[in-house]
């Protein structure tokens, strides 16, 4: 059989094209202000999550890829068979090299473990004492938010409840309790923080904050059935005084429409209503 001709130039050109395309694609993340761009972080949590990736992983990973792939392409070109009867030296291995490329990556990777563990601990801490507490409940296919701090209780002592659009003050930490009334969901506002799954039957916690006022969109990230794609939410960050104004307005509306009213309840929630489901699970039952 004839040896196929694959010129050196073609191979080099192709690999350059690939690299260029990769660079172009990735640069898209860095600059753009798209609504759910995880790289356009606007909160402490999202920023930390992005920075560990960029500073500790993306760069080294790109270098490793270019070096290893470069060596592979080089070898493919350099060592092409020239004649049918050439037999190269039968090298079986080299223990020193083996040890080197076992131990060196192991050390590099263990270094990587440091920011990982540090990051986990930091993101996993409980919210600060002065945090605003919101209970988030995932329902098929809506998000319910309840302001748990006593000062935002309505006339009946029930927490103020809103759906799909939640307002938060900027520069204040938000402590979230995350629950599910039916199946699994995952609460996610990419520009503010990574996700936390909502697990039916138990409560999960996370915290986040927003640097600047703005409207941050998010959506359910755990497949939850028919309308999973439509289970979207918006987190509106406002200056403290504007937020206060907004929430007092909501409370006034709430009083006007009477207790237990489900006018703004979920259109397609479970029959027993959202209040039953998430209300009961005990706090911190995360024995799994």
């Amino acid at each position: 059989m004839k040896l196929p001709r694959l010129s050196t130039r073609t191979l080099v050109l192709l690999s350059l094209l690939v690299l260029l395309a990769a660079a172009l694609l990735l640069s898209g993340c860095g600059t753009s202000d798209l609504p759910q761009n995880t790289f356009a972080a606007e909160g402490e949590v999202a920023r930390k999550q992005r920075d560990i990736l960029i500073y500790w992983v993306l760069g080294p990973a790109a270098i490793i890829f270019i070096v290893v792939e470069g060596l592979i392409v080089y070898a493919m070109i350099r060592y092409r068979r020239k004649s049918d009867d050439e037999v190269p030296t039968q090298v079986h291995g080299n223990t020193r090299m083996e040890l080197a490329w076992t131990i060196a990556p192991a050390i590099l990777l263990l270094v990587l473990a440091v920011p990982v563990v540090e990051g986990i601990a930091d993101l996993g801490r409980s919210p600060r004492a002065d945090a605003l507490h919101i209970r988030v409940t995932g329902l098929q296919w809506r998000w319910q938010f309840e302001y748990m701090d006593p000062e935002y209780a309505n006339a009946d002592g029930e927490p103020l409840r809103v759906f799909d659009e939640v307002h938060i003050p900027t520069k204040r930490e938000i402590g979230l309790e995350i629950l599910s009334a039916d199946v699994l969901h995952s609460f996610w506002v990419p520009r503010l923080a990574g996700k936390q799954d909502a697990i039916a039957g138990s409560t999960r916690h996370m915290w986040l904050n927003a640097d600047r006022p703005g409207s941050y969109s998010g959506q359910c990230a755990e497949f939850c059935g028919l309308q999973h794609a439509d289970m979207r939410l918006t987190m509106v960050a406002q200056e403290e005084n504007e937020f206060e104004e907004w929430i007092q307005g909501e409370l006034a509306d709430d009083a006007g429409s009477g207790p237990g009213d489900s006018a703004d309840g979920p259109a397609n929630g479970p029959e027993d209503g959202p209040a039953n489901g998430p209300g009961a699970p005990a706090e911190g039952s995360n024995g799994e």
Binding site: G201, P281, A282
Partner: protein
Amino acid sequence: MSHADALHTSTGLDNRKLLMWLFLASECLFFGSLIGAYLLYRGDHEVPCVAGELSACVFPTDRTINGVEYQGLFDIPFTSVSAFVLLMSSVTMVLALAAIQRGNQRGLLVWLFATAFLGIVFLSGQAFEFTEFNEHGLSLSTNLFGTTFFVLTGFHGAHVTVGVLILLSLWVMAARGRLTQEKSLNVELAGLYWHFVDIVWIAIFTLIYLIQP
């Protein structure tokens, strides 16, 4: 699967015997997973109840089923006897294998039958226990205990049933003179399976019946 295989395998171990050991190793993971699920839920003494009355949710360590007080769900002496019966069947299994390896056809017939019989006695005990629990209102869907208990012990019972069928098949073969000394491997393999099922029961008996929370 021919017997000549044993003569020239790379490890010297018969193919079928190696297969049986691998199968039993795999079975360990199977029962391990079932037991794991049972143990996970056993810790939940008072699982928060979202719907229905509390009793439906509670692992019956407080001896209630459907809200009715029930003194002692388990009849420990009864189950101990049936566990003992199953243990004894392992002894008779060993005797059956010893018999065929010595070419003692009569002994083989007797001990194979004894093993199968003891297995059937154990299964009858299990059937009685299941009926008894059911009459007290405990079913697969009553609560987490019902679910994990019936599925775990049920799968064990299914394994014993398969074992009894194998033993009876061997017994028929032996009775027709087709299970000769050189085919003792068949009995050995059945024995390996039988002892395994027996050991699994010791684990289940200890975890479910003896160490109650």
